[in-house]
């Protein structure tokens, strides 16, 4: 069965690129364009991995990470960051995220990190 990945990101170009690459890599991809939509999905659906931006409308990435860690702690999280966000990334790691990817991502790097994170979880 295909692994399901939830992408939480509000830049449509980034979403399109991530989804394109991950679908090509053989994953099932679900997207949420803001924190509220993501929260709804997290409450009702199951995912193997979550890729999330931190600055999101309505509910922030940090709040989502907090929710995931408290309610579905086994699900790995990769943070999508932009350059110059060192402090924010450090905070995210302190909250227990598994990895981060800088936007715009390197396609090979994305494949590798997703594969590695999923393997570590299993």
């Amino acid at each position: 069965m295909k692994k399901r990945i939830l992408i939480i990101e509000d830049n449509p170009m980034v979403v399109k690129s991530l989804a394109f690459k991950l679908i090509r890599d053989g994953y099932e991809v679900v997207t949420a364009a803001d924190g509220r939509d993501a929260m709804e999905r997290l409450k009702t659906e199951r995912f193997s991995l979550i890729l999330t931006d931190l600055m999101l409308p309505f509910i922030s990435g940090s709040q989502l990470i907090e929710y995931i860690k408290k309610n579905i702690p086994g699900v790995p999280i990769i943070v999508l960051s932009t350059s110059n966000q060192d402090d924010i990334i450090t905070d995210a790691f302190n909250m227990g995220v598994d990895d981060f990817i800088t936007k715009p991502f390197s396609p090979n790097e994305l494949s590798l990190r997703v594969r590695r994170t999923l393997a570590n979880t299993n």
Binding site: M55, K103, P107, N108
Partner: protein, 247 residues
């Protein structure tokens, strides 16, 4: 093009090698570096690539490439296509005769090793001089590489760029009129990757300025610069898409 790649810390390397194991070994060694690597099995595939795409920052080609060998390909690129890309010719140890060694060509030994990476880094550094820029403000190399030149993906991405940035610039201007600088900076943060994906270096820098350094007094000037840049790029994209559609 080169400046844009370098500014993204992602120099582009065209790698020509027919041996799958050597290619895999090279990709393995290179994966921790921020390089965009395009692989070709032979010199004709490499030439076809160079004719249809922007110049890479470095060409690595095996000495015994087919149908033209590494030396012939290098000469052909310089004399016939006027492509001045630095070339590293890969060869097995002791596989060069004296005549070849005295040329000005640069070499790299196989099997590839960490030493090869140092040679490549040094060559990239030595040749990282700015080139005269062309008129295009954008470059599709990143999206092409990501999608393996998938046309539908490219069209959709360009359309998304055009639509989403138009919308966000309206939001920025609305926020600016209310002196809501926090929102202006948040939107700048949101759209920065879109400019980066089309390798629009100026756009990325203006977004950075908007998010991190512009004072409240400067912010409206930066927004105006960003709008002007977007208008220019958008026009180019629309024209290019029309030309593309009629081919």
């Amino acid at each position: 093009m080169k400046q844009q790649n370098q500014s993204l810390n992602r120099p582009k390397i065209l790698f020509v090698e027919n041996d799958i194991e050597l290619t895999q070994r090279f990709l393995q060694l290179a994966k921790t570096h921020h390089w965009t690597i395009i692989t070709c099995p032979d010199s004709m595939a490499a030439i076809r690539y160079l004719k249809g795409n922007s110049e890479p920052d470095l060409l690595i080609i095996e000495k015994n490439a087919k149908p033209m060998n590494g030396f012939q390909t290098s000469n052909y690129l310089k004399s016939e296509l006027n492509i001045q890309v630095p070339v590293l010719i890969s060869h097995e140890p002791n596989d060069l005769d004296d005549n070849e060694v005295t040329t000005k060509t640069m070499f790299i030994e196989t099997p590839f090793s960490t030493k090869s990476i140092l040679v490549i880094k040094s060559t990239l550094k030595n040749h990282a001089q700015p080139k005269p820029s062309n008129d295009k403000h954008y470059c599709l190399n990143y999206l092409k590489q990501l999608s393996d030149h998938n046309e539908e993906f490219l069209h959709t991405s360009i359309q998304l760029f055009s639509d989403s940035i138009s919308e966000k610039l309206i939001e920025i201007k609305t926020a600016l009129s209310k002196k809501d600088y926090k929102t202006v900076r948040e939107i700048g943060h949101n759209i920065k990757p879109s400019f980066e994906m089309l390798e629009i270096t100026n756009g990325r820098d203006l977004c950075d300025k908007l998010v991190y350094t512009a004072t409240e007094k400067e912010i409206s000037i930066v927004v105006a610069q960003l709008s002007t840049l977007f208008y220019t790029v958008n026009l180019q994209l629309k024209n290019d898409l029309q030309k593309y559609a009629t081919l």
